[in-house]
């Protein structure tokens, strides 16, 4: 299998705090890769390193065979990595469609004069954004909401818009940070199905999630972080049975069982 994203010895320190500490990780093409770990374990920080939000303190990150360590976020995005945020970052005051149109930014070439003169480049770009944008909106089931301001949608839908917007980049790798947070169990189920479907279509996905039902049922491989260190990696069964993980993360397991006490 082809390695898509590889982290070698990646660290990130905030002052004295080692938020991410010497983490090695490999994501293969076609994976749904889960990252779990207690709060403050460094999961989001790790995503931020991969997507270029923070520079690393040490180590290297390779994407699709290319060294992307410390590149700017927009350059990394152009290379085919898209992401969502733990605390949703939509363009709240733009409509759903406009949000997604911005996702097509990297696929369009319009320059100042193209825009002023309405050249063929401009027309092609606008057409692409409009048509493909609608296509994606329909896929995530938000067709009826396309003209509503993104900030006015319920939480669950906002998460879907964020994913849709990331999909507009047509990325090789999709990083999702707690996509199911704030969703009720039914919505979570729908999301699971959707992510699996995307995966079937060829998207590689990395996901941070605290909803164990979600993680265990969708991911084929899981990495567990604790205090910035990787403490375990493997398939869901292996992770579930790992003692260290249980102590640090699952606790008594009430929640993992989906709440059936």
């Amino acid at each position: 299998m082809k390695v898509l994203l590889e982290a070698k010895n990646v660290s990130k320190h905030f002052g004295g705090l080692k938020a991410v500490d010497n983490v090695d990780m490999v994501i293969y093409e076609g994976d749904i890769f889960g990252i779990i770990g207690p709060n403050g374990a460094g999961k989001t920080t790790f995503f931020n390193l991969c997507s270029g939000v923070f520079p690393v303190t040490g180590g290297e990150i390779y994407f699709n065979g290319e060294n992307i360590t410390n590149l700017r976020p927009d350059i990394i995005a152009k290379k085919g990595m898209a992401r969502t945020f733990q605390n949703i970052k939509l363009f709240n005051y733009m409509s759903v469609l406009e949000n997604i149109k911005i996702g097509f930014h990297i696929h369009s070439r319009t320059r100042m004069w193209d825009a002023i003169l309405h050249t063929s480049v401009y027309k092609r770009d606008e057409k692409l954004a409009e048509e493909k944008g609608m296509e994606i909106i329909e896929r995530v089931g938000l067709k009826d909401y396309k003209d509503i301001l993104a900030g006015n949608l319920p939480y669950g839908m906002q998460r879907m818009v964020e994913i849709a917007r990331a999909l507009a980049l047509d990325p090789k790798l999709l990083l999702l940070d707690e996509p199911a947070a704030g969703m009720n169990p039914n919505e979570t189920m729908a999301l699971m199905e959707f992510i699996k479907k995307l995966n079937h279509e060829g998207y590689t996905i990395a996901v941070i999630e605290h909803d164990m039902k979600f993680v265990m049922n969708t991911c084929n491989r899981i990495m567990v972080l604790n205090f910035g260190k990787k403490i375990c990696e493997g398939d869901p069964e292996y992770v579930r049975s790992n003692k260290e993980v249980n102590e640090a993360y699952f606790g008594k397991g009430i929640v993992v069982q989906g709440g059936t006490m």
Binding site: N39, A41, P185, N186, H210, F250, V255
Partner: protein, 236 residues
């Protein structure tokens, strides 16, 4: 102890909450469950006076607090841990906790110290991060801080809006334990949760809210067993 009668709240012309009545008795854990946008958060905001009410009355310990200003309501002993945490990002953890004590002017220095110790025991993470600014905490740590900050005012009733959002299972367990502990310490809890099954399993009573209306109410266990509820909120 807390009694809400025919409460309605509008945002502009949208009715977010329609004629809700509910009651919280002293020493109870009461939970509100319901889908996204059902009006749960809005109800809590209305109780703490952060949104104007279209109609209805809210009484707390027999006092009508419908028209009180938010800070006075808090000083009555109602603590609201809001959705999305809303900690003060550039205050340190310690200062955030101290900010929590403002809502209870009757607290004296030694009591504050005691409360602080108690909270540090509940959340050892916070002690470690004492001098760090609130904004630099991870999501879960912020949630802990928000709850701890609420507990610092030693309230009579604590209203928690989705306290488990984004927390690791082990912390969620801890928080639910904590909620029980709070109740056992004689306090009253009003809880909003997406994780309906957990919420109902610890709650004494629960209300199911849909599009601004109370559609069901009952004992926690009863609701948990109710097939409609299971289908709608517990994922089958």
């Amino acid at each position: 102890m807390l009694k809400i009668q025919n409460l309605s709240v509008n945002y502009g012309y949208i009715a977010a909450v329609k004629n809700i009545s509910l009651e919280v008795n002293e020493g109870e854990i009461v939970t509100l469950i319901g889908g996204n946008g059902a009006g749960k958060t809005t109800t809590l905001m209305a109780i703490s006076g952060l949104v104007p009410k279209a109609s209805g009355t809210i009484t707390f310990k027999g006092v009508n607090i419908t028209k009180m200003s938010p800070d006075k309501i808090v000083k009555m002993g109602i603590c609201h841990v809001p959705e999305g945490r809303r900690i003060f990002p550039s205050l340190t953890v310690y200062e955030n906790l101290m900010a929590g004590t403002i809502g209870n002017p009757s607290l004296k220095k030694p009591q504050i110290k005691q409360l602080l110790e108690k909270n540090y025991e509940l959340f050892p993470r916070l002690r470690e991060r004492m001098k760090q600014s609130g904004g630099s905490l991870s999501g879960g740590e912020q949630q802990m801080l928000a709850i701890a900050r609420g507990l610092m005012m030693d309230p009579d009733i604590i209203m928690l809006d989705e306290p488990s959002l984004g927390l690791a299972p082990i912390i969620v367990e801890e928080i639910f334990d904590l909620i029980l502990k709070i109740r056992n310490a004689g306090k009253t809890v009003l809880l909003i949760e997406q994780n309906a099954s957990m919420a109902l399993s610890i709650a004494d009573r629960g209300y199911v809210i849909e599009t601004g209306n109370v559609v069901l109410e009952g004992k926690g266990r009863e609701l948990l067993a109710n097939p409609d509820v299971r289908k709608a909120y517990l994922g089958g």
